[in-house]
């Protein structure tokens, strides 16, 4: 057993005690994540360019293959590898603790890599283009499911190491009182991950057996019910994780403190209790499930998890505003926002993620998740439009933003191209906002998702989409180029910095507020007397008004279709 001095180092910026095995694991998982993002992002670009009818670069079978691989590589591989890194960071690093069972964590990593590679290889062979959702009776090669299962088992093992670390930290008293809020957010993500991965195992194991011929039949409706307990809940892991990342970035770049620990943690508790019910979003126009089940589950038990998100939607910018006002930016409603460190890519990425996730992803998600309104959107391009706003503009952008802090703090390397880093969040955000909005627009016009040719050139019967639909798809293609550029700027910079960057000596500049807070203030603000957040109140009011208007406009659209019961 090595001595403490050998297995830990002290971070010169934060004073945190960093377990070296945890650090290496964080690096490994983050690097793997970025590699899969690169691959998946290129596929996304090719898909978007194919859907642009004037460009249409891929032939049909390649398109469906690329789309299957895109969904798998970005949604599962990129996101979950990065989340494992976040879990280790939020437990071992933030709690000053050693990581539980680093060997198991390496086994987890190996399983995830093997699983991810296996599924990719099988997909690339071409006869498993079943989309990452693989709805039966559509059948992929056995290796497709086996890879997914290995990946899920690996991820579950990693989550186990996270919980183990919480236990160790508590026993060894590496922190005092309650865990930090960011760690609490990570706990929320990990809890949802357990339900997610368990559901995945319940459904993928029989499906694997079916693919090798040991089970004769998989009921398509039952599959979908259980599959989405994994597929959608994994999006809820993302939400919890990126909200935790928002709090972390606000804290690290501005010294921001949650306005109220109680409120923020209760909002996370609402996630733990209700967020996972929203898996029902994918089954709203399915036969065989009652409206009671649909309404109750799709509304997260009367929108209590939406309440959680709306709380974060105020407390996160509220924490930023409070910190900025303490720093003296008190003029008018928005000086705090104008004078925010927009040139710091971590902050810029975080705030753009917050705004786009709320306005684009949040509102569209709740509207589309309304039982009856879903009739207007199910399986149209509206769905990918919505979730590129959540999982790309929200989660991916937040993860990119925190990378700009992780590289100096954990990899101990300077960001190699700081100017490129400064521009990156904006370019990526513009591109993603574009693909979200234009796919939603096309979906509103009835354009289907996962569809190679809306001109129906080799179909027996035809349908002419309105010209506006073609315009939307063209704008989507252009935005995809911007998004891909933004993604490339991120990947190039991170890979270059990690491989060839100058080593960081001493404290890290990016991770520190431009103007440090007076020490006396740090001790107090956050207590009630000091909260003044008029700017945030304006922001959330604008948000609520947009939400209400958009919500009722869609009821209006619904009332114009054929009466049905």
């Amino acid at each position: 057993m090595a001595t403490a001095a050998e297995t830990f180092r002290i971070c010169p910026t934060t004073g945190l005690k960093i377990h070296l095995s945890a650090q290496t694991l964080i690096k490994a998982n983050a690097v793997a994540a970025v590699v899969f993002l690169l691959f998946g992002g290129l596929l996304g670009l090719s898909v978007a360019l194919t859907r642009w009818p004037a460009v249409h670069i891929l032939p049909a079978n390649w398109f469906y293959l690329a789309l299957t691989a895109h969904g798998f590589n970005v949604l599962l591989c990129w996101i979950i590898f990065f989340e494992v890194a976040i879990l280790y960071f939020a437990s071992a690093v933030l709690l000053n603790s050693r990581l539980a069972a680093p060997r198991a964590a390496w086994v987890a990593f190996a399983l995830m890599v093997i699983g991810a590679v296996m599924t990719n290889v099988v997909v690339l062979q071409g006869d498993s283009s079943v989309m990452f959702t693989s709805y039966p009776p559509l059948r992929a090669q056995p290796g497709f499911y086996l890879g997914l299962i290995l990946f899920a088992v690996g991820a579950l093992t990693a989550v186990g190491c996270f919980f183990g670390t919480l236990v160790i930290a508590k026993e060894e008293k590496t922190y005092e009182g309650s865990v930090p809020l960011v760690t609490f957010g990570a706990i929320t993500a990990a809890i949802i991950a357990v339900f997610t991965l368990a559901s995945g195992a319940i459904i993928l194991i029989p499906t694997f057996l079916w693919s090798v011929g040991l089970v004769s039949n998989i009921d398509p409706l039952m599959y979908k019910l259980v599959w989405w307990a994994m597929g959608h809940s994994s999006q809820q892991i993302n939400v919890s994780a990126h909200v935790a990342v928002w709090y972390a970035i606000a804290a690290m770049t501005l010294g921001a403190k949650p306005i109220s620990e109680k409120v923020s943690r209760t909002a996370f508790l609402l996630y733990i209790l209700f967020l996972q019910l929203a898996s029902a979003h994918h089954l709203l126009v399915e036969p065989g499930l009652s409206s009671e089940w649909k309404v109750f589950n799709t509304s997260y038990a009367m929108y209590l998890a939406v309440l959680g998100s709306m709380i974060h939607g105020m407390t996160v910018p509220g924490a930023v505003e409070t910190a900025q006002r303490e720093r003296g930016y008190t003029k008018g409603l928005f000086e705090w926002l104008r004078k925010a460190p927009w040139g710091n890519p971590a902050f810029a990425g975080f705030f753009l993620s917050l705004v786009l996730f709320g306005f684009l992803g949040g509102i569209s998600g709740v509207v589309m998740g309304t039982e009856q309104i879903n009739l207007l959107m199910h399986n149209t391009l509206y769905a990918p439009g919505h979730f590129h706003a959540t999982v790309v503009a929200g989660t991916t952008l937040a993860f990119m933003a925190i990378t700009y802090l992780v590289v100096p703090l954990i990899f101990q390397k300077e960001i190699m191209f700081p100017r490129m880093a400064q521009w990156q969040p904006y370019i990526f955000a513009i591109g993603i906002a574009g693909i979200s909005v234009f796919m939603m627009g096309a979906g509103t016009l009835g354009v289907p998702r996962r569809h190679w040719d809306i001109t129906f050139s080799d179909a027996l019967l035809h349908y002419d989409y309105p010209p506006a639909a073609y315009l939307m798809l063209a704008l989507n293609g252009l935005s995809a180029i911007a998004a891909a550029l933004g993604g490339a700027m991120y990947i190039i910079n991170v890979v270059a910095s990690v491989s060839f960057g100058k080593s960081v000596k001493g404290a890290v500049r990016q991770a520190q507020p431009a103007t440090p807070l007076p020490a006396a203030v740090v001790g107090q603000y956050g207590s009630v007397a000091h909260v003044r957040i008029p700017g945030t109140v304006v922001l959330v009011t604008v948000f609520l008004v947009s939400f209400v208007l958009y919500y009722f406009v869609n009821w209006k659209y619904l009332s114009e279709v054929w009466p049905m019961r």
Binding site: V285, Y303, H378, S559, R565
Partner: protein, 178 residues
């Protein structure tokens, strides 16, 4: 800071600021309104998806569809029968790779019991340009009661991926004025 433990030992006892409380209350009420809308629409709205569903073997559904087709076919279009069933009757629409079978003709303002099922994979019933979208499963028969309120030609697109010919799967539904 959010990355260090709460400063106060008993952080639960810290009072909540008024602005936060008001927002929580407003957000909660908005949630209740949205929940109420779905319930209200079930009671008073005219656009609710039916829950009437049966288990059905694909060959049986095929037989029911064929029986209807042989009884009510009025013409053919590119080899696909167009069926004009009497108003109020049971209409069977069958999805399979990669066609909607048969084409349908409804009378404007009349109500039909429209059955949806697939005999192979999952498909997506997407009625354009109205943009109504319903998932179609093999082994399950979903029965909707619809009223065709506008006379024109509608297309049925498949919007669930169903193999490499997915994008060629188009069907027709005509609504004719009486």
């Amino acid at each position: 800071m959010a990355i260090s433990p709460p400063r106060e030992r008993l952080w639960w006892k810290q009072p909540i600021h008024r602005v936060e409380l008001i927002w929580i209350l407003v957000a909660f009420l908005w949630g209740i309104v949205m929940f109420g809308m779905m319930v209200y629409w079930h009671a008073f709205g005219k656009h609710n998806l039916s829950n009437e569903t049966y288990k059905v073997a694909p060959n049986e559904y095929y037989a029911k569809t064929e029986a209807m087709v042989s009884k009510y076919t009025v013409r053919e279009e590119k080899g696909i029968p167009v069926v004009h069933p009497p108003p109020g009757s049971d209409v069977y629409l069958m999805a399979r790779v990669w066609a909607w079978y048969p084409s349908l003709e409804f009378e404007q303002g009349q109500t039909y019991r429209l059955h949806l099922s697939s005999i192979d994979l999952q498909h997506g019933f997407s009625l354009q340009p109205m943009n109504i979208n319903i998932q179609v499963h093999p082994g399950y028969e979903h029965v909707l009661t619809v009223t065709a309120d506008q006379a024109r030609e509608y297309s049925i697109i498949c919007n669930e991926f169903c193999g490499f010919g997915h994008h060629t799967m188009v069907g027709k539904l005509y609504v004719v004025a009486k």
